[in-house]
Amino acid sequence: MAPRGRILATRFGLNPNSSSLGVDVTFLLLGAAALSIFTPVVGALLRLRRGSSAHVVDPPSPAPTE
């Protein structure tokens, strides 16, 4: 059976500010437990959306910097 895979990180919200990349700190306040509850929901939503034939972009990977 193919491995299920993992959600590595989730960035919530939209950033309207053209001078920085804002981070929603709500989950920093709620803590890891709240995120652990929310992450499977995000996973389920992603898998549901799979049926809508999401457009996939595969740009070339950049050269290593190290």
Partner: protein
């Protein structure tokens, strides 16, 4: 969805989120990359190398604005910048960004709301699958902005203080106009918030500002560190927060967020002030909380299309334009010091948060130290390290 070395980045619309997944999850979603076979160690390694393209582009559509704020980071004027792009150039550049898989745009200025073609550009971004977001002062172009507000994912109005405090920070007393703009925009859509540039003058008012946002039924407050760019370079020494305020930032913000129950976002340059409080590293990773991600997660472009690592960084070496992004992105030395964060001095090198914080804000380091590679000199850990080192040097002399 976009394939990445580590797996893929998938976009959710409800809730609004970019989700980073490993290769196995990406395959289940229908994504795959030809590069995976030759790089087995890259599976799940977010941040190990730059992304394949930015997730977000910050576009200064114009540098025209006649408000004349004392700390304006672009040094905007009523006449704008030489060689500013028009709608056709921006639309071509958006096509290029869409081909690279960029998800979000942050449109700003100057005052982009005065551009007669703002709606045309925003609609073009939507048609190419990207979400345009907007920052406005609310002081000009409002009548034209209201009918096209629906095109934007999120609109924030710059609001650095309430009542007379607004004038103290921005240099002109136009709070009532900005407040009116907020109320009218909020009547059109839910996704309206405020951007607050935090300075030593308004730090004590943060709770009041956040309460105001809640009262206006806004959906978020975005807190921005004062940056030494544009007119902000000359005003920096007088407006940047004190060391004590930087150390108090997270406790102040977290208290206000709990009290007023509103979403608060903090900008990337505040990461040193967050990790100073030893927040859960794993949680930060899972929320993709990073410090300087310029030239990696994000890029900036000036009104003439000049590409930069972020809005505060000088134009990238070689002066590429936004529509040169694909070729420039692949260069080994692309974005100079902004991608060289792994080669850090102490105390960053031994900091357990370094792979997240990436040395703090390079715009501040460039201004205060003359070298963007140096650790962010306003980071509390850096301040403590330098105080300690100075003490060790002075001691034998004193004896």
């Amino acid at each position: 969805m976009r394939a990445e070395r580590f797996g893929a980045i998938a976009e959710l619309v409800r809730p609004r989120a970019l989700v980073f997944v490993d290769r196995a999850f990406a395959r289940r979603l229908g994504a795959a990359s030809s590069a995976w076979a030759s790089d087995p160690a890259g599976d799940g390694d977010v941040g190990g190398r730059p992304l394949s393209a930015p997730i977000e582009a910050h576009l200064q559509l114009t540098n025209r604005c006649d408000v004349g704020c004392q700390g304006c980071y672009t040094g905007a004027t009523a006449h704008g910048a030489p060689g500013e792009w028009g709608a056709e150039e921006w639309k071509r550049a958006l096509d290029h960004l869409a081909e690279r898989g960029v998800f979000h745009l942050a449109l700003g200025g100057g005052e982009s709301a005065i551009l007669p073609w703002l709606g045309e550009v925003a609609a073009h971004a939507r048609a190419r699958g990207m979400t345009p977001n907007l920052t406005t002062s609310g002081l000009a172009g409002l009548d034209d902005l209201l009918p096209i507000a629906h095109l934007f994912g999120q609109i924030n109005v710059s609001m650095d203080g309430i009542g007379p405090a607004y004038a103290a920070v921005r240099g002109s007393d136009r709070f009532a106009e900005a407040d009116r703009a907020l109320r009218l925009l909020r009547a059109r859509k839910r996704e309206v918030g405020i951007n607050v540039v935090v300075t030593r003058l308004n730090f004590a008012d943060l709770d009041e500002i956040i309460r105001y946002a809640r009262r206006r039924r806004l959906n978020e407050v975005e807190l921005l560190r004062f940056k030494p760019a544009g007119r902000g370079a000359a005003a920096f020494a007088g407006l940047t927060c004190s060391d004590a305020q930087h150390r108090a930032f997270w406790p102040t913000v977290s208290r206000a967020a709990r009290r007023h129950r509103i979403r608060i976002r903090v900008d990337c340059s505040y990461t040193p002030m967050l990790v100073h409080h030893r927040l859960d590293r794993r949680l930060l990773e899972r929320l993709a909380v990073y410090g300087c991600i310029a030239g990696d997660f994000l890029v900036g472009a000036r009104a003439n299309g000049a590409l930069s690592a972020c809005s505060f960084a000088p134009p990238a070496p070689g002066r590429p334009r936004l529509d040169d992004l694909a070729a420039y992105w692949e260069k080994d030395d692309a974005f100079g010091p902004f991608r060289a964060w792994r080669d850090a001095d102490e105390p960053c090198r031994s900091c357990e948060y370094h792979s997240l914080c990436r040395g703090g804000c390079k715009a501040v380091a460039l201004h205060l130290e003359g070298d963007a590679r140096r650790p962010d000199p306003e980071c509390p850990r850096v301040v403590d390290f330098r105080r300690g080192r100075a003490g060790r040097i002075r001691l034998p002399i004193a004896v």
